[in-house]
């Protein structure tokens, strides 16, 4: 949260942020209304933001709703996440040509890395980016596309004031307020009260500082800071969903044959929407294509999911034939094996997989049921 170094920008001066970002060569991307949802896309001006809009979310349900004010950030996360910019859904990895003498010549793909300013990153999302940083950058080999895009990206984070009913970041310790050790460049809080419509800005990195320094601003007052804190406190209060993050890893390991897996498999469509919308899921597959002559080949990478049969295809077929085994893979990876693999949870409590599951399967409910009827003693 903010401290005394923060500044206040009035609503009418907020457009200045866009000008500064543009002058520094950033492509600004952030929330905007499209197809009856708040999605992430290119923004060219303040008016592109979802002014006066909010969302209503439930399991398998998302609706845009009008607010009775003109807030710029008065909603929770939507179907998109920043992963689509840092880890694109489709990417050509290389091309190969057959040369005159029949040898294969590889052509390396230039890394395309637009310089993005992410405007409106939520705390859970900043955590999700940090998790993907571990996955893509801290392994044996760094992913070049992710690395270039990530290095160039500027994260302008917003403290959450209006979580949706599917959010449970508080119990995952990833929000709704942005904590001191969360890696972002700028932190801001939107305030809309008797004192007016204004934004508390705080630089959280060197890069962020140069931008904040250029904004037309005044110093924060005690009142501004208290209001910002109250907003986040209230957001925490209104959050109804929760997941008992303590011990969930052991709970899952002790219940790999729990009958609940069969019940959820009866409902699960194995459609993969949950993994597509999840801001931390990173899986891909590759496809080789050839042209008619066979002299030119390309390798493409595209998002894949542990819900597809091909994902676990080995000699003899898919090793996860049943939807039970696929749902179990998803949930145990997010909440259990991720800890062993990357030292963190694979879930930040953003609630997307709940809202965007066409049949409204809710992982917090699954964990709760398993916790109440655990079959084994969770070992620790």
């Amino acid at each position: 949260m903010h401290d005394a170094d923060s500044i206040v920008v009035e609503r009418q001066d907020f457009a200045g942020l866009f000008e500064i970002l543009r002058s520094l060569g950033y492509a600004v991307v952030g929330p905007t209304v499209k197809d009856q949802a708040i999605v992430y896309d290119q923004l060219s001006q303040v008016d592109d933001l979802p002014i006066g809009w909010t969302d209503e979310q439930e399991a398998g349900h998302y609706r845009l709703r009008r607010r009775n004010d003109a807030a710029l950030f008065g909603y929770a996360v939507g179907p998109h996440s920043w992963k689509k910019f840092l880890h694109p859904p489709r990417l050509r990895l290389f091309q190969a040509e057959r040369s005159e003498d029949g040898a294969m010549v590889f052509k390396q793909e230039p890394v395309e890395a637009p310089k993005y300013a992410f405007l409106g990153v939520r705390s859970c999302e900043a955590h999700a980016i940090a998790i993907q940083d571990r996955v893509f950058l801290e392994g044996a080999v760094a992913d070049p596309t992710y690395r270039e895009r990530r290095i160039g990206a500027l994260l302008i984070a917003v403290n959450c004031g209006f979580p949706s009913s599917t959010c449970f970041c508080h119990s995952m310790k990833t929000g709704p307020g942005i904590s001191q050790n969360t890696k972002v460049d700028i932190e801001l809080t939107e305030l809309l009260d008797d004192e007016g419509h204004r934004f508390v800005f705080q630089a959280r990195s060197q890069k962020g500082q140069t931008i904040v320094d250029r904004l037309p601003a005044r110093r924060t007052t005690r009142g501004d800071l208290d209001a910002a804190e109250a907003l986040v406190a209230e957001a925490t209060e209104t959050m109804t969903r929760e997941l008992n993050a303590e011990g969930v890893r052991d709970l899952l390991y002790a219940n790999l044959e729990h009958p609940r897996w069969d019940e959820v498999a009866d409902r699960c469509l194995t459609c993969a929407n949950c993994t597509m919308v999840c801001p931390t899921c990173f899986c891909t597959t590759v496809e080789d294509v050839t042209d008619i002559t066979g002299d030119h080949a390309e390798r493409w990478r595209r998002w894949d999911s542990c819900f597809t049969l091909d994902f676990s295809h080995m000699p003899g077929g898919s090793s996860r034939q049943t939807s039970k085994s696929r749902y179990r893979q998803w949930l145990t990876h997010k909440l259990a094996t991720w800890h062993d693999q990357f030292g963190t949870s694979g879930c930040v409590g953003c609630g997307r997989c709940i809202s965007w599951c066409p049949v409204g399967i809710d992982l917090t409910e699954e964990i709760q049921v398993m916790g109440q009827s655990t079959q084994g003693v969770p070992s620790s």
């Binding site: 499209k34 197809d35 009856q36 949802a37 999605v39 398998g60 349900h61 998302y62 609706r63 845009l64 179907p79 998109h80 689509k84 859904p89 489709r90 009866d266 409902r267 699960c268 469509l269 194995t270 459609c271 993969a272 929407n273 597509m276 919308v277 496809e287 080789d288 294509v289 050839t290 042209d291 008619i292 002559t293 066979g294 595209r302 998002w303 894949d304 999911s305 819900f307 597809t308 049969l309 091909d310 939807s323 809202s355 965007w356 599951c357 066409p358 049949v359 409204g360």
Partner: protein
């Protein structure tokens, strides 16, 4: 060198009971199709050329379903003359829209439609090609996607696995950035139980998926229907949704019958 000893592999395109739309997809490939014809001999393709070269053929593309005794015999001959046989489209892979008659009395329908039904010689059912002969690859779609069709031909030509996904439409829908019409607009969508391939066109234009590519690899139609019912869709409309181009495909047929009996 082709398998049949010619310099270029020979391609044949066959039509059974169908609307010709899938063959049109091949013609629709235009420039690519011309390029294909330089490396593959178009030995038989009535929709494109009158010229017909006798078999055997390296690759046969078969459109349409089997609806007459004569076609039931003809497909045997096509199979015998083809090294690889690939079925294209909903008719060839699931019986097509004409399979709607499979649960009706064909004789009675014919007497209503035709002045002289005695001239007809049809089977009771419309069935997919794979119910009659062994099929090397099934390419779904009503009609097939021309890029997928080209991909199958290229994969055959270069002896590699075709990149044809069998998962749900939802992966394509998300990859193209569409907002889910089921969850955000309350529009019933067959995408979660339908095989990808079209590029998730309909949800991008505010419609639910119609199921043109047939059941995906692990369809859970019962769970999707339960959600549709919760959204207010009637059993009659659920039957209609499943009983279209791919209505005779096992998963869709079972689901429509389940709701018919309710």
């Amino acid at each position: 060198m082709s398998e049949t000893g010619q310099s270029k592999p020979k391609l044949a395109v066959w039509k059974f009971a169908s609307c010709d739309g899938c063959q049109l997809s091949l013609l629709d490939c235009e420039d690519e199709f011309l390029a294909v014809s330089e490396v593959i001999e178009i030995a038989h393709f009535s929709e494109a050329t009158r010229r017909s070269v006798p078999g055997p053929y390296d690759l046969s593309l078969v459109e349409g379903s089997i609806t007459t005794p004569a076609d039931a015999e003809r497909i045997q001959r096509v199979r015998a003359e083809s090294r690889y046989l690939v079925t294209i489209g909903a008719c060839a892979t699931s019986g097509g829209i004409q399979a709607l008659r499979n649960s009706r009395d064909v004789g009675e329908m014919a007497s209503v439609v035709y002045a002289s039904p005695e001239y007809l010689d049809v089977l009771e059912t419309s069935t997919p090609i794979a119910s009659h002969v062994s099929v090397d690859f099934e390419l779904r779609g009503c009609p097939v996607n021309k890029h997928q069709l080209l991909e199958v031909i290229l994969a055959f030509l270069h002896r590699r696995k075709p990149n044809i996904a069998t998962h749900s439409v939802c992966l394509e829908c998300k990859a193209r950035d569409s907002v889910c019409v089921m969850t955000a607009k309350g529009i019933p969508c067959l995408g979660p139980v339908t095989q990808a391939g079209c590029g998730a066109i309909c949800p991008a234009y505010n419609r639910g998926c119609y199921g043109c590519f047939g059941p995906m690899e692990s369809p859970n139609c019962a769970a999707l229907s339960a959600q549709w019912k919760a959204m207010g869709v009637s059993d009659v409309d659920i039957v209609r949704a499943y009983r279209s181009f791919n209505g005779y495909a096992e998963a869709f047929r079972v689901e429509s019958e389940r709701h018919e009996s309710i």
